[in-house]
């Protein structure tokens, strides 16, 4: 038997092909960039793009996990906003508070995620609706905490966002990269990782197989909450303060790289490496559009079209009729 050809076919049918789609698009954008400006391909610009990807990367990682189980987390934006307010509000310029507050805020992300997961598993309401609801609740709580930018962080807190490692690699983006690689490894090589895929593929079957379906769902929302809080800490580092609407844009934008990277919204297929490339694609596209001098209006059109183009490449053939 031609094991080779069949594994090749599998390779192209499986989640892996997503990576090639995105890599292809990345290369395409890069070529366009190089042809329009000689400042585009400078290491300075590319390292900037790398740095700019950090926030989206962190939040999309959690989102990927939720989507892999066939769910979605629309509360990430509000979690980010609340966490960012708490981070700078509680630290309030006091260096000795930095570590305890970071730990506390991450814990809050975890607790919120657990609440999301709990409501989803107990009520059976679709995650889209549940997280939309908790997102609203959290936004309200955020505004109770403060109506405007609150608190401040000590100097040096911006190291996460702006710090550069040797050779100019951004600290935050490199951290995100490492976390992604770790997540990819764990997803592939731990039981829980495999169970995430199984639950997303068929939650009913997963329950019948005795897999800890509820625990898995709890876990992904906990992680999604955790990474949203981590994103908030990053944003406070980048902005110097927490604000009540800081995360709002991330709710929908965190989904784009996931899907562009080949993870199916239906669950069970895809992976975090695709998401990482999706994040790079989004960052590079934004950067390129800034170089292209397209009118801002057409930038929106271009973004929409790139999304459509990317996901249209994942068409699955329908067997019957």
């Amino acid at each position: 038997m031609t094991v080779q050809s069949s594994s090749l076919r599998r390779f192209f049918r499986g989640s892996q092909v997503g990576l090639f789609v995105v890599i292809g698009l990345l290369i395409l954008l890069f070529v366009i960039g190089v042809s329009v400006s000689d400042r585009f391909a400078t290491s300075r610009n590319i390292l900037n793009v790398y740095e700019q990807s950090t926030g989206l990367a962190l939040v999309s990682l959690g989102q990927t996990l939720a989507i892999l189980t066939g769910g979605i987390d629309l509360s990430v934006g509000s979690i980010i906003s609340l966490s960012s307010m708490l981070t700078s509000g509680l630290i309030n310029g006091n260096p000795s508070m930095v570590l305890p507050v970071i730990a506390g805020v991450l814990l809050i992300g975890i607790v919120i995620g657990a609440i999301n997961g709990g409501i989803i598993t107990v009520t059976g309401v679709h995650p889209l609706i549940v997280t939309l609801g908790t997102g609203a609740i959290l936004q309200g709580i955020t505004l109770l905490y403060g109506l405007g930018p609150t608190g401040k962080v000590p100097r040096g807190f911006d190291y996460f966002a702006y710090g550069r490692l040797p050779a100019g690699f951004s600290v935050g983006a490199t951290f995100a990269l490492v976390v992604f690689l770790l997540a990819a490894f764990l997803l592939r090589n731990t039981r829980t990782g495999r169970h995430i895929y199984a639950v997303g593929d068929d939650p009913h079957a997963a329950t019948l197989m005795g897999l800890p379906t509820r625990r898995v769902i709890m876990l992904v929302y906990i992680l999604s909450g955790f990474f949203a809080s981590l994103t908030a800490i990053y944003l406070v580092s980048r902005f110097g303060v927490g604000q009540p609407y800081t995360g709002a844009n991330y709710t929908l934008s965190s989904i784009t790289p996931v899907v562009v990277g080949g993870t199916m919204l239906a669950g069970g297929r895809g992976g975090v490496l695709g998401t990482l490339l999706g994040v790079y694609l989004v960052s590079l596209l934004n950067n390129l559009l800034n170089f292209l001098d397209v009118s801002t209006h057409f930038q929106l059109v271009a973004q929409g079209l790139v999304i459509i183009a990317a996901v249209s490449l994942y068409v699955e053939k329908r067997r019957i009729a």
Partner: protein, 354 residues
């Protein structure tokens, strides 16, 4: 007659110290590449501001090689990236309209540290790490709105605050300044603070509910901008208020509320927040690159107008709403843009150096 209002310095001059900045270190030979990082578009005010900037750039083609414009879509993260990208593209000077005061601060500070002068327009960053700030004052708007209402009501009455978006900086700053004034008058009661998200539609919806609840007990509406004011006036009309019965409203810039005020005899105060500051920013930018001394803050005079007979001791504008309004123009038109009579934002096109 003697002036009976509150001290004018308090009302009209938010920054009391006059300061000038030496910009010799930024002096450079032209023609220049100037970058503009815009917070976003989305309402007509911001469009007109952008157009006034393009117009000014077109008028200085000899000195400006390129005006590079990015749009952050009201997203802090994108604006920080935009500023980095503009820096990567090698601009000589950055004009920034910050989406939020604090979030964009580190990026602006970094640009300055790299030796790129930054001129803020419309919305500044929280630190002083920029060369100068071209603005009209949110705080002043808030104070004027509040003082006028207080005086209209003789220090006693119930008001409703119709805000923009809860938590957004222009709204919060205007409301905060207004509260400083209102807090001094114990007989002024705030019935409710509601939010329109800067939308006339939402403004009308919330005001309908507020009117249903308080009816004629509402003595004035403090609206933090003109975008939502027409929704409120419409809500009063629909609730059966006759012309002359609608309580005083505040507004700014937008044609529609002024049209409504004249038609329905609504006492009104307009404090402009002129989008023409976009063009001013270009002038200031050229001054900076020419090494000239510039003021630390470049305050554009706001046009202030009231409906006839609605002047108060503190607020006696030279301008009347009936002279400002453009009766046959569309209601969403901005009357404070300074773009000339033929200007239409939808069709505006100018050959600025791109």
């Amino acid at each position: 007659d003697t002036y009976k209002g509150v001290p004018r310095t308090f009302l009209f001059n938010p920054s009391m110290d006059v300061c000038l900045k030496d910009t010799a270190e930024y002096k450079k030979n032209g023609p220049y590449v100037i970058g503009f990082s815009n917070a976003g578009l989305g309402d007509s005010w911001r469009v007109v501001m952008l157009h006034s900037m393009e117009k000014a750039a077109a008028e200085h083609k000899d000195q400006i090689k390129q005006l590079l414009i990015t749009d952050a879509g009201h997203d802090d993260a994108k604006q920080v990236s935009d500023i980095q990208d503009l820096t990567s593209r090698g601009v000589d000077l950055l004009i920034v309209s910050a989406n939020t005061e604090q979030a964009v601060d580190p990026a602006v500070t970094r640009a300055m540290e790299q030796g790129i002068p930054v001129v803020m327009v419309d919305r500044r960053v929280s630190s002083d790490n920029f060369v100068t700030f071209v603005t009209a004052s949110d705080a002043m708007m808030g104070r004027l709105f509040a003082q006028w209402i207080v005086e209209k009501l003789n220090g006693k009455g119930n008001i409703v605050i119709l805000g923009g978006q809860a938590g957004s900086s222009p709204n919060e700053q205007r409301v905060k300044a207004a509260m400083q004034v209102l807090d001094q008058y114990p007989d002024i009661k705030i019935l409710d603070t509601v939010y329109s998200d800067w939308s006339p539609v939402k403004g009308k919806q919330v005001m309908q509910a507020v009117i249903a609840k308080y009816g004629k007990n509402i003595n004035a509406v403090l609206s933090t901008h003109g975008l939502q004011t027409p929704g409120s006036i419409e809500a009063f009309l629909e609730a059966g208020f006759k012309p002359g019965e609608i309580p005083p409203h505040t507004t700014s810039d937008v044609n529609g509320p002024m049209q409504l005020a004249l038609k329905n005899k609504v006492p009104m105060l307009e404090v402009g927040y002129p989008p023409a500051m976009g063009g001013t920013a270009i002038q200031v930018a050229l001054n900076v690159l020419g090494g000239k001394k510039v003021p630390c803050t470049y305050e554009i005079n706001a046009q202030i107008a009231t409906t006839d007979g609605d002047e108060t001791p503190s607020i006696r504008p030279d301008l009347h709403i009936k002279d400002m309004v453009m009766p046959n123009a569309p209601p969403d038109m901005l009357v404070t843009g300074g773009m000339g009579p033929d200007y239409n934002p939808s069709t505006f096109k100018i050959d600025y150096p791109q």
